[in-house]
Amino acid sequence: MAKIQNPLLLTLYSKYVDRILSSTASIEDANQRLRDLGRDIGSQVYLTTEIVDKTKETVSTREDVAKLMDVIFKSLFNKKPSNVDMKTARGSVRVTDKDCLWCQDVHLEGMRGFGYCEIFSGILEAILEFKGVESKVFQEMCRATGAEVCTWNVRLVW
């Protein structure tokens, strides 16, 4: 059996996902509601971690955004993201995690397009907003639905 990191968080989050999925018929709506949840808790995450102290007061370049991603991963997951890609998509930063915490040992079938870890999109969006960066974040790929890695697309609106 795979070793689960932070089983309490995982269990709590799966309860949330269950509740959302049982109250909507639309994948897109479920994704949005998970993002909303992330945005809701984003301020608490920002206020209870070292993110504010470890980052520049203003984030103004894509490099700054990449560094911010490193700090967020370090603060929340005590690791670096597997990859932060600033090149392949114009106007976006792609963040990849091959050992994503949120969807450990989750295997979904027939749920194409569902981002199990969309909560993290919301958290990223909120933190970027507190750093003065407007963005739209969504999960492009998710291990829970069969992808190799979890990837979030951070679309920056400068």
């Binding site: 301020s43 920002y46 209870t48 504010v52 102290d53 507190f130 003065g132």
Partner: protein
């Protein structure tokens, strides 16, 4: 006026942790005292004269116990002697509770001549107040003191429990942390020591009932009352629901079963409170940080000041290292 003053002071008298108290003039002369040791007066007087008009809240650790001094207004100082083992914070909180009760009372200045530490001086104070006319809330036509100012204060209260004929049970009332209880028709009776109602309250709730009722002034919310007594909202709400069923206080009635299902602890929120040095606050952050008093959420602060929520979070986050805390509470 004096009845309210007496009521406020009786809170101290019935407190087991209070050894004595004295209402003193700003010169340090004891006007009305109760069990306050005479030998402590010179020391208290010295402390008062040392600080003069700058006196705020002050504590003196004496061999008899802990003395807390606090100005009531420009003329009067309340001095309370607590048992030595009482924690400093609790002693200060208890004193502040009494001060809060005294807030609404306009005390006249002391007479030029008076005998020190006499309990009858309260009546002297009352006479001065009535002569001054404007300070007495309900002077009767013949100039005599009106005996029941509390009833007068209670009369405009909520009508929810104003039908004593209908027997109601505590469950018929809805008390939330944000509810403001008001004094009811039997409020005075409940505080009268030899009344059956007081005995019933004492039997069921001991001194807790008395303590809660003393703080019911039509202004404080259940949450504020619970906070100042270091008690849970639920315990205070439970007592108030019982008191409402007896007409002692007025609180809203429960409205139907649907509402009953929704009766919860309230919404759990976190409110920022800045307890760090004011000098650390940058001028551009002052408006937001000043609003961080532990009673308002970041959303409420943003709305109050007309700034974005993100701006409030950004600012609040910067001051965590300087002593900003997030206080969890139910609203």
């Amino acid at each position: 006026m004096t009845t309210d003053l007496e009521r406020a002071l009786s809170k101290l008298r019935f407190d087991d942790q209070v050894l004595g108290y004295s209402l003193m003039t700003k010169d340090g002369r004891p006007f009305v005292s109760f069990s306050f040791p005479d030998e402590l007066f010179p020391r208290v007087r010295d402390s008062i004269s040392l600080y003069k008009s700058d006196l705020r809240l002050m504590t003196i650790d004496t061999e008899k116990g802990l003395v807390v001094l606090s100005p009531v207004d420009t003329n009067w100082i309340l001095t309370v002697l607590y048992v030595p083992e009482l924690q400093l914070g609790l002693a200060i909180a208890k004193t502040k509770n009494v001060l809060r009760l005294l807030e609404g009372i306009e005390l006249p200045p002391p007479p030029d001549e008076f005998e020190e530490s006499v309990e009858g001086n309260l009546q002297v104070l009352e006479t001065i107040a009535i002569n001054a006319a404007s300070t007495s809330p309900v002077p009767s036509s013949n100039g005599q003191p009106v005996d029941v100012p509390v009833t007068a204060a209670a009369s405009p209260a909520v009508t929810a429990a104003s039908a004593p004929i209908i027997e109601r049970s505590p469950e018929d009332f809805a008390v939330q942390p944000s509810t403001i209880p008001k004094r009811g028709e039997t409020y005075t009776t409940a505080l009268t020591l030899d009344s059956d109602l007081h005995k019933e309250m004492k039997k069921n709730h001991r001194n807790f009932g008395f303590d809660v009722l003393m703080l019911v002034d039509g202004k404080l919310t259940v949450e504020r009352i619970a906070d100042s007594m270091f008690q849970s909202n639920e315990r205070v709400a439970e007592l108030l629901m019982w008191a409402a069923s007896k007409g002692i206080v007025n609180v809203p009635l429960e409205t139907g079963t649907v509402k009953k299902k929704e009766a919860t602890l309230g919404r759990f929120v976190k409110c920022p409170k800045y307890e760090g040095p004011p000098a650390k606050v940058k001028p551009e952050h002052k408006r937001i940080i000043n609003a961080c008093d532990g009673t308002q959420t970041t959303d409420a602060i943003a709305e109050l000041l007309g700034v974005t929520h993100a701006k409030v979070i950004q600012t609040v986050a910067l001051y965590r290292k300087h002593g900003l805390k997030m206080i969890g509470r139910t609203v």
